[in-house]
């Protein structure tokens, strides 16, 4: 069926359209130049933008279910019955249906899970398959993998490339994620990596070597997405220096299409000072570096005041957090590949540390250029993704930030520059940070824009951008972005004014990187390592036919 969105006020930063009154046409699920007839949506006086793209949101995988088990309080805190559809429960760790419905209500249509442990890839895909409404994908964890570290030590880039392409294919992932390179392996011995030149026990490699070689392999394989890095020393005062040093590892690599390194949830890695007492913001330094280097992109990892569930493969960092807060702690070991830690958390405006974390996230969002920083909460680490509209409003309104700052601990004024920042992102910039930029960073040519050939994923919000001043009317902006008037997925209306209209199951996008020759190169090495696994090689990985709507991307 065709769809015509008439007279909307369109923002499409990727195609240079900023507040133009125009019509959007969708035919067979894709955006086209024009269609003769079809269902018409009158969008006059309303904002029309591409469907949202969340490039970093924990929505599937083993740790998500463990968090649900650990947090019956969270599951019980929100319940919603959707007549004719599935029920929702939970706040920071909702059930799978809740995740899909809430993204759809907010006008988001694409979500990527950034931590897929190879050994539990099947679980990740089973969960992604259970999430309705959105297109999705996953990034495979590689930074502490025994094979990767072996090939890095042996300086065998060809084997490393072959292994990565096999691993991505085997786990049906979209790209490479690194979490605390070397640190999670060291955690098996009760240690961590404290700098880029620490040595991983028994592997004699350093985080510096792991990151550099994975970037080299990633670029050489010509994978669509760049290396996606969660830096060492997460959550440690003074860690901004490690973050900038890690960013410098991308110098010398270049890709005309995109960045060569995406550093994620940078707020957690942008701390200055040397203890929680002298804790302050390192966001300014990081912003300066990112703004002057076009091969780096970041996302915010913005904390939201209220309840959160921290979940990350960075198990040693989570143990440190558990020691700090004494909250309940879940730890997972993923054999020869990675680990995970889960802890419920509460960001309080009254607590000096969490208030400063909140301010650092905003500093990054405001100080870094809008073509380099993506809006994220590292859902649910900084808070649930449902807080995005609130963050959008804060980025666009210094008045709203002032109101929030009044509630926050006075330490924010000493430890960060947030009170003196009067930058206000424009609506176009915020649309870029939530749509076109994440799509460009992930290298999804059919997402995040409304040009001909793009997927027919459109969000229509009940706000007239030409007659609204986001700085003053931030409440209205937040309200409008919280509940899309219409969310359109592949030309079908899936949500209208917060009500689910149609349940659809999106594609799972992965990269078909494997070539037969690869296995000849690494078969012996990988088979040898498999003698230490609890699983047979023949039972490892995910078959394409097991995925509900498989959508492989071929590598050029």
């Amino acid at each position: 069926m065709n769809l015509i969105i008439k007279n909307g006020i369109v923002y499409d930063p990727a195609n240079g359209i900023s507040g133009e009154k125009m019509d959007i046409f969708i035919e067979d699920g894709r955006i086209v130049e024009e269609v003769k007839d079809g269902r018409v949506i009158d969008a006059s006086g309303k904002l029309v933008v591409p469907g949202g793209v969340d490039m970093h949101s924990h929505i599937a995988g083993g740790k998500m279910n463990t968090a649900r088990v650990m947090r019956p309080d969270d599951i019980n805190s929100r319940k919603k019955v959707n007549p004719g559809f599935r029920a929702e429960s939970g706040y920071t760790v909702p059930n799978s249906y809740g995740i899909g419905y809430r993204y759809a209500r907010m006008g988001y249509t694409t979500v990527f899970e950034p931590a897929n442990p190879p050994l539990s890839a099947l679980h990740t895909h089973e969960e992604l398959d259970a999430i309705p409404m959105v297109d999705k994908g996953a990034l495979v964890l590689t930074g502490n993998n025994w094979n990767v570290m072996n090939f890095v030590r042996e300086r065998d880039i060809e084997k490393l490339k072959a292994y990565l392409s096999w691993l991505i294919f085997k786990t049906k992932s979209y790209g490479i994620k690194i979490v605390n390179p070397g640190g999670i392996e060291a955690w098996a011995y009760g240690k961590n990596m404290r700098g880029l030149d620490d040595t991983v026990p028994h592997f004699e490699v350093t985080p510096r070597e792991i990151i550099t070689n994975l970037i080299r392999a990633n670029e050489s394989l010509n994978l669509p997405h760049s290396v996606h890095l969660h830096c060492n020393n997460l959550g440690v005062p003074g860690n901004f220096e490690t973050t900038i040093e890690s960013m410098k590892l991308a110098e010398g690599f270049n890709n005309p299409e995109r960045q060569v390194l995406h550093v994620t949830h940078v707020q957690f890695n942008a701390y200055a000072g040397d203890s929680w007492k002298t804790f302050s913001s390192g966001a300014g330094e990081i912003a300066k570096y990112v703004n002057s280097h076009d091969n780096i992109t970041i996302d915010m990892g913005q904390p939201v005041f209220g309840s959160a569930t921290t979940m990350t493969a960075d198990a040693p960092a989570q143990f440190a957090l558990h020691k700090l807060t004494k909250a309940k702690w879940g730890n997972m070991d993923v054999e020869l590949e990675t680990g995970a830690g889960i802890i419920p958390f509460y960001y309080s405006p009254k607590n000096p540390v969490t208030a400063v974390q909140w301010a650092i996230g905003l500093e990054l969002g405001l100080l870094v250029d809008s073509d380099r920083v993506v809006l994220s909460t590292d859902n649910p680490n900084g808070g649930p993704f449902t807080a995005y509209p609130d963050i959008m409003a804060m980025l666009m309104s210094s008045k709203k930030r002032e109101e929030e700052l009044e509630k926050a601990h006075a330490f924010v004024g000493k430890a960060t520059s947030l009170p003196s920042i009067d930058t206000e992102k424009t609506l176009e910039e915020v649309i870029q940070m939530t749509r076109s930029l994440p799509a460009k960073i992930l290298n999804l040519p059919r997402k995040g824009h409304l040009g001909s050939g793009a997927d027919g994923d459109v969000a229509i919000y009940d706000i007239n951008p030409l007659e609204t001043d986001p700085s003053r009317e931030h409440e209205r902006v937040k309200k409008a972005f919280s509940t899309a008037e219409y969310t359109i997925k592949n030309g079908e209306i899936i949500s209208e004014k917060g009500e689910i209209k149609k349940e659809v199951y999106g594609k799972t996008i992965w990269v078909n990187s494997f070539r037969e020759d690869d296995w000849n190169l690494i078969g012996d090495d990988v088979s040898r390592i498999f003698s230490f696994y609890s699983l047979e090689l023949s039972n490892y990985g995910v078959e394409e036919s097991w995925i509900r709507n498989s959508s492989p991307v071929e590598v050029a």
Partner: protein, 238 residues
């Protein structure tokens, strides 16, 4: 006074959250009968399950006459008034109540007064497990108010409680005051394992009980649980 009597014996439990003295005061019998409750997974009106009558007495009182052991969430979230149960009460009775009074002449089931913040509950018979406790995953149990049980109670009395008082005139089961951080529990009879992982507050057991080895004897009595760095006080009769 509103009197509720079961029309027929019920097999599938009904859920009475929302049927509170403050919610019914000023309503006519017909309006009360039309109020909605869950019966299993069906939504029914109160009048389908109960015979409702208005009798002489205080306006803000609900009298539940008969065996209400299949009636869940009685008086949960209550913010004033009185509920009298002339018989047994079902699970979650008085859970999260803020104010008011519940008197149960028979026995109470599990989760009596769980996470309550104020008000008073008195049970003439016995109570089940989790009296004044936290719900799973929550960090705090009872946060205020008073519970008096004339009979005995099951396991996990006052689990994670932080304020208020619980008195058991009979015996209590295992894990009395598990992870409690404040408030007071008195057991006039015997108890099982008592005070484990206690962080603060005071437990008195007049009869016998099992004290974990992680308590120290000081001039206040037994203090602990030191494995948690706790500063609770445990007074035992023996």
């Amino acid at each position: 006074m509103i009197v509720l009597r079961l029309k027929n014996e019920i097999e599938v439990p009904v859920e009475m959250d929302g049927i509170l003295p403050s919610a019914i005061s000023g309503k006519s019998r017909e309006e009360i009968e039309a109020m909605k409750i869950y019966h299993g997974n069906r939504i029914v009106s109160l009048g389908e399950i109960f015979h409702v009558s208005v009798e002489e007495g205080d306006e803000d009182t609900i009298l539940c006459d008969g065996d209400f052991s299949k009636v869940k969430w009685l008086g949960s979230g209550m913010d004033g008034g009185r509920i009298l149960v002339r018989g047994n009460a079902g699970v979650h009775c008085g859970a999260r109540m803020k104010d008011g009074e519940i008197l149960i002449e028979g026995n109470a089931d599990d989760y009596l007064g769980a996470e309550m913040t104020g008000g008073k509950i008195e049970v003439k018979g016995n109570a089940g497990n989790y009296v004044g406790s936290a719900y799973h995953g929550d960090t705090k149990g009872m946060r205020g108010g008073e519970i008096i049980i004339h009979g005995s109670a099951g396991n996990f009395v006052g689990e994670k409680m932080s304020q208020g008082s619980i008195t058991i005139k009979g015996n209590a089961g295992d894990f009395v005051g598990y992870r409690m951080s404040g408030g007071m529990i008195t057991v006039e009879g015997d108890a099982g394992i008592t005070g484990a992982s206690m962080l603060g507050g005071r437990i008195t057991v007049e009869g016998d009980c099992i004290v974990p080895p992680t308590f120290e004897r000081t001039e206040d009595g037994l203090t602990g649980d030191f494995i948690e760095g706790g500063k609770g006080v445990l007074i035992t009769g023996t």
